[in-house]
């Protein structure tokens, strides 16, 4: 059963990865990174059970934390730099 969930999470990760690669806007990428991070938290939690040593869930905590901080960081720097130089125009990616 853990297997099924693991596969589901992995599939979700792969899809998010594609979204992060494809964009097209910056916010899509940020969203994808965020989703990817949450899924990683889940993956770590499940893999802990799968491998029979679920007591190391602290790592999942760190993932969740870092995920949040990264998203805030991206937003923060993007908002800050957007009125500035080259960061304002998104060329639609080919």
């Amino acid at each position: 059963m853990f297997t099924a969930v693991t596969i589901a999470v992995l599939v979700a990760m792969a899809l998010a990865l594609f979204r992060a690669y494809a964009g097209p806007t910056l916010y899509d990428r940020i969203l994808a990174v965020n989703v990817f991070g949450t899924k990683t938290v889940l993956l770590i939690a499940i893999v802990g059970f799968l491998m029979g040593r679920p007591e190391f869930l602290d790592i999942a905590m760190v993932y969740a934390l870092m995920n949040f901080i990264t998203v805030i960081g991206i937003l923060r720097f993007f908002e800050y730099s957007s009125p500035g130089k080259s960061a304002n125009s998104e060329t639609v990616k080919d």
Partner: protein, 332 residues
């Protein structure tokens, strides 16, 4: 099942890496690099390397992404699209070089002991002592922590010094010449009310978590380095939401610098005290009458030293970068 996850993660790593090569938008590259960090951390969990996964998640996916982003906010977001014709030889040259190196490595893997075999030299020489005797010699269950802080404690001392060196380097290069901070800055994310409230709730939790990681390192994954990064991330979060000036009011710049030095000194002085008590450098057995108690004490102290230095250097690096980017923003 484990092998399946293993293969999938590895394939995702490759995909991410290839995507990084292809994408020109450096913000996207940074985010993909963050994903790469998360993926490799998941891989480390799968390989039973929880401590490493912990660190990689905090560093690869967290801190280094933030640092690159700060730099990008100063240098601009896009890689120059067109490569001049005369530079065209470079991809070919690089490809040749990379192929040769890779081929040599693949040649080298042929005689390596099979993946996961229990009778490989790596598992039969040196390591058994750590696994069998560390419980009696050091007295803590996390073998990684006992090797890190005691058996190979000197490497870790070097590691702390490396971090300290990086802090010094960043200060020496990027520190603004003016001692006073740039004038009042607009509170940057003032319109994100929800964000600010939630973060205010989170920051104490994060600090508590950092303390837990710091002092729980002997029993599970964690330790000074991870705790330091998490602790610093609380301050970084604060600085991002409430502005650098506010954050500087909480942690004074001079104080952080002193702390970064004190962490190294704490580590070093544990070693020197051991020397004065008649042992070798960093021989914790001499810290107390009972060797195991001495080891426990030594590990506690050096981990604390690591934590202090790492946290303060991370704060230094991040704050220095941010201050520089704001100064530059004004100059425009």
């Amino acid at each position: 099942m484990e092998s399946f996850v293993h293969v999938v993660i590895i394939l995702m790593l490759v995909t991410t890496a290839i995507a990084i090569v292809r994408v020109k938008d450096l913000f996207a590259v940074t985010m993909l690099a963050g994903i790469y960090g998360l993926l490799s951390a998941s891989f480390f969990v799968l390989m039973d390397a929880h401590d490493v996964a912990f660190t990689e998640a905090a560093v690869g996916a967290g801190i280094s992404t933030l640092l690159v982003l700060t730099t990008l906010s100063m240098t601009g977001r896009f890689e120059k699209a067109s490569v001049k014709p005369q530079a065209d030889y470079r991809p070919v040259l690089a490809l040749v070089l990379v192929t040769v190196t890779g081929a040599l490595l693949i040649y080298g893997t042929q005689d390596m002991p099979g993946f996961g075999t229990a009778d490989a030299p790596v598992q039969t020489h040196v390591v058994p002592r750590y696994l069998n005797d560390s419980a009696t010699e050091i007295g803590i269950p996390n073998v990684v922590a006992s090797i890190l802080a005691s058996y190979r404690g000197y490497d870790t001392f070097g590691e702390v010094v490396v971090i300290f060196t990086a802090g010094i380097g960043v200060l020496a290069m990027v520190m603004s010449n003016a001692t006073k901070m740039p004038v009042v800055q607009t509170a940057l994310m003032s319109d994100h009310v929800v964000l600010r409230i939630v973060s205010k709730m989170l920051i104490p939790l994060i600090m508590l978590f950092a303390l837990y990681v710091q002092f729980h390192g002997e029993y599970g994954p964690g330790g000074g380095f991870q705790a330091g990064v998490i602790f610093a991330s609380a301050f970084i979060l604060y600085a991002m939401l409430f502005g650098l000036t506010a954050a500087r009011n909480v942690v004074n710049h001079t104080l952080v610098q002193l702390l970064s030095a004190l962490g190294v000194l704490l580590y070093g002085s544990v070693g020197v005290v051991a020397m004065i008590n008649g042992g070798n450098f960093l021989d914790y057995n001499f810290l107390s009458d009972d060797p195991v108690a001495g080891q426990m004490l030594g590990i506690l102290l050096v981990e604390l030293g690591v934590g202090i230095t790492v946290a303060s250097v991370m704060i230094i690096i991040f704050f220095t970068f941010t201050a520089r980017s704001q100064k530059e923003g004004e100059a425009d």
